[in-house]
C-alpha cells in the first residue's frame, strides 16, 4: 500500500498544479487616476516593484547558495533538500516587512471604505486554496515515504529496502524521516510566512483619497499574485526534487540484476559466459518510474510559475491618467 500511495498523491498533486498554472493568467489592467494623483501613484508603483525585485533577488541568491554552493557531504544533502524552501521563506519574510508602499498621509480630508479586508481579499479563492492543497499533498507524500523508509549504515532513516525471494536490496538517499521531517517543518513555516505577507498586505493603510483606491487595489493584487506564484513555484520545485529522488531510488532498488548463463565465443574459444539482465520487481518499479515522471512534470510547472512570478515583478505597468474635465470640454 505504501508503494502505491505516493503515485496517487503525485497524480493528484499534478492535477492541482495544472489547475494553478492554467488559472494564473493575468487579467490586470492599468488603473486610471486623475492627473493630480499621477506622481503619487507612479511613485508607489515604482516602490512596490523595487520591493518585489528585492524579494526575488534574495530568493535566487539564498536558493542558489544553499542548493549549489553548500557542500552536500556534512549534512548528506539536507541543505539541498531545504534550500528552495528556505529561500522562499526569506523572500516572503522580506516582503512581510513592508509588503506594499505606505501612501503619504493627509492632514485634511481622509476617506475610508467600509469593506473589511483580509488576507484573501486581493486574489481569487482558488489561488490560495490550491497551493495549500499542494502543500498538504506534499506533507502526505513525505509521511508515506517516511513510513516506507529504512535506516542506512549510519542509522538514519534515508534508505529504501525491497525484500525479494532470496534477500533484499537497499537504496539511498531516499526521502525518509531524515529529510522528510525538516522538509515538512519548512513547508509549514513557508505557509505561515505567506499568510503573514497576505495579512500585512490587507492591513496596510489605504490612500487618503478614494481616487487612488484603484491604484492601491492594483498594487495589492500584484504583490499577492507575486507571493502566491513564487511560494507555489518553490513548493513545487522541492516537491519535484523529493519525488524524483524517491522515484530513482525506488526504481533502482526494485531492479534486480541476474546473470543469464549462455555460451560465449571469445579469443580463447567457446566457453560458458553470461549477460547481466535486469529483472523488475513490479509494481514497485513502476511506482518508482511514475514518481520520476511526476516529479519532472512538477518541476516543469514550477518553472512556469517562477517565470510568471518574474513577469509579475518586472511588468512595467503605470497608472493610466484621465483627462481633467476642462481638457475634455476643450
Amino acid at each position: 500500500m505504501f508503494t502505491l500511495l505516493p503515485l496517487v498523491l503525485l497524480i493528484v498533486g499534478g492535477a492541482v498544479v495544472v489547475l494553478v498554472a492554467v488559472r494564473s493568467r493575468s487579467s490586470a489592467a492599468a488603473p486610471v487616476v486623475e492627473p493630480r494623483f499621477r506622481v503619487d501613484a507612479a511613485t508607489q508603483v515604482t516602490r512596490t516593484r523595487r520591493r518585489l525585485a528585492l524579494a526575488l533577488g534574495l530568493y535566487f541568491v539564498v536558493g542558489g547558495a544553499l542548493v549549489l554552493a553548500l557542500p552536500s557531504e556534512p549534512l548528506l544533502g539536507l541543505g539541498q533538500a531545504l534550500g528552495v524552501a528556505v529561500a522562499a521563506i526569506v523572500a516572503a519574510l522580506t516582503l512581510a516587512a513592508s509588503p506594499v508602499a505606505v501612501w503619504p498621509g493627509s492632514t485634511g480630508l481622509r476617506t475610508a471604505e467600509l469593506t473589511p479586508r483580509s488576507g484573501g481579499s486581493f486574489g481569487p479563492r482558488w489561488g490560495f486554496a490550491l497551493p495549500l492543497a499542494s502543500a498538504g499533498i506534499l506533507i502526505l507524500f513525505l509521511l508515506v515515504t517516511g513510513l516506507s523508509s529504512t535506516t542506512d549504515d549510519f542509522g538514519l532513516y534515508r534508505a529504501f529496502t525491497v525484500e525479494h525471494g532470496t534477500g533484499s536490496s537497499t537504496g539511498s538517499p531516499y526521502p525518509g524521516w531524515y529529510y522528510g521531517v525538516p522538509v515538512i517543518l519548512a513547508t509549514i513555516v513557508l505557509a505561515l510566512a505567506v499568510l503573514l505577507v497576505l495579512h500585512r498586505i490587507a492591513a496596510a493603510p489605504r490612500p487618503a483619497s478614494p481616487e487612488l483606491f484603484d491604484v492601491d487595489d492594483a498594487l495589492r493584487r500584484s504583490v499577492t499574485r507575486f507571493v502566491m506564484l513564487l511560494s507555489s513555484s518553490a513548493l513545487l520545485a522541492y516537491f519535484a526534487g523529493v519525488a524524483v529522488i524517491a522515484g530513482m531510488v525506488t526504481s533502482s532498488t526494485a531492479t534486480q540484476w541476474t546473470t543469464s548463463p549462455d555460451w560465449q565465443i571469445g579469443a580463447g574459444g567457446v566457453g560458458l559466459g553470461g549477460d547481466y539482465l535486469p529483472t523488475y520487481l513490479q509494481p514497485i518499479y513502476a511506482v518508482g518510474i511514475a514518481e520520476v515522471v511526476g516529479g519532472l512534470v512538477l518541476f516543469a510547472l514550477a518553472i512556469v510559475l517562477l517565470v510568471a512570478a518574474v513577469v509579475t515583478a518586472a511588468l512595467r505597468w503605470a497608472p493610466a491618467v484621465v483627462a481633467e474635465p476642462e481638457e475634455v470640454h476643450a
Binding site: 498621509g105 493627509s106 492632514t107 485634511g108 480630508l109 481622509r110 476617506t111 475610508a112 471604505e113 467600509l114 469593506t115 473589511p116 479586508r117 490587507a202 492591513a203 496596510a204 493603510p205 489605504r206 487618503a208 478614494p210
Partner: protein, 115 residues
C-alpha cells in the same frame, strides 16, 4: 465610505459615529453586514485605534452594531427605511468625501430639486 475632516470642529470619533449611524439608519448598511476592524478603519483614517474604538462603543450602546471577539463587528439594527433614504444617506457621505460643506450640498440639492 466615510470621511474624517480635520477642518471640521466635531471630534473625529463623533464624525465616524454620526456617519455610520446615518448609513445604518438610512439602510445603506443593512442588518448583519460586517464592518471593518477598528485597526483597519483607524489605519485608513490615520487615527488612533482608540478613536475608532470609541465611535464603535457608542454605536454599540445605541444598539446599532455588535462586536464579538473572533466574529468582528456587525450591524444589528433592523431598519425598514425607504430605499430613497439610503440613497440620501449615501449622497451625504459622498458630498462630505468630496469636501462639500452643508451649505454647498444643500445648494446642490436645491438646484436639482428646482430643475
Amino acid at each position: 465610505m466615510i470621511t474624517v475632516d480635520d477642518a471640521n470642529p466635531t471630534p473625529p470619533y463623533e464624525q465616524i459615529r454620526s456617519q455610520l449611524a446615518l448609513l445604518i439608519e438610512g439602510g445603506s448598511l443593512s442588518f448583519g453586514e460586517k464592518l471593518p476592524t477598528v485597526r483597519q478603519l483607524a489605519a485608513d483614517l490615520r487615527l488612533a485605534p482608540g478613536t475608532v474604538g470609541r465611535a464603535y462603543s457608542e454605536l454599540e450602546s445605541q444598539g446599532l452594531i455588535e462586536s464579538k471577539r473572533g466574529a468582528g463587528t456587525r450591524v444589528i439594527a433592523r431598519v425598514e427605511a425607504a430605499p430613497q433614504l439610503g440613497e440620501a444617506a449615501a449622497l451625504v457621505v459622498a458630498a462630505r468625501a468630496a469636501g462639500l460643506s452643508l451649505d454647498d450640498a444643500l445648494r446642490a440639492v436645491r438646484g436639482a430639486w428646482g430643475s
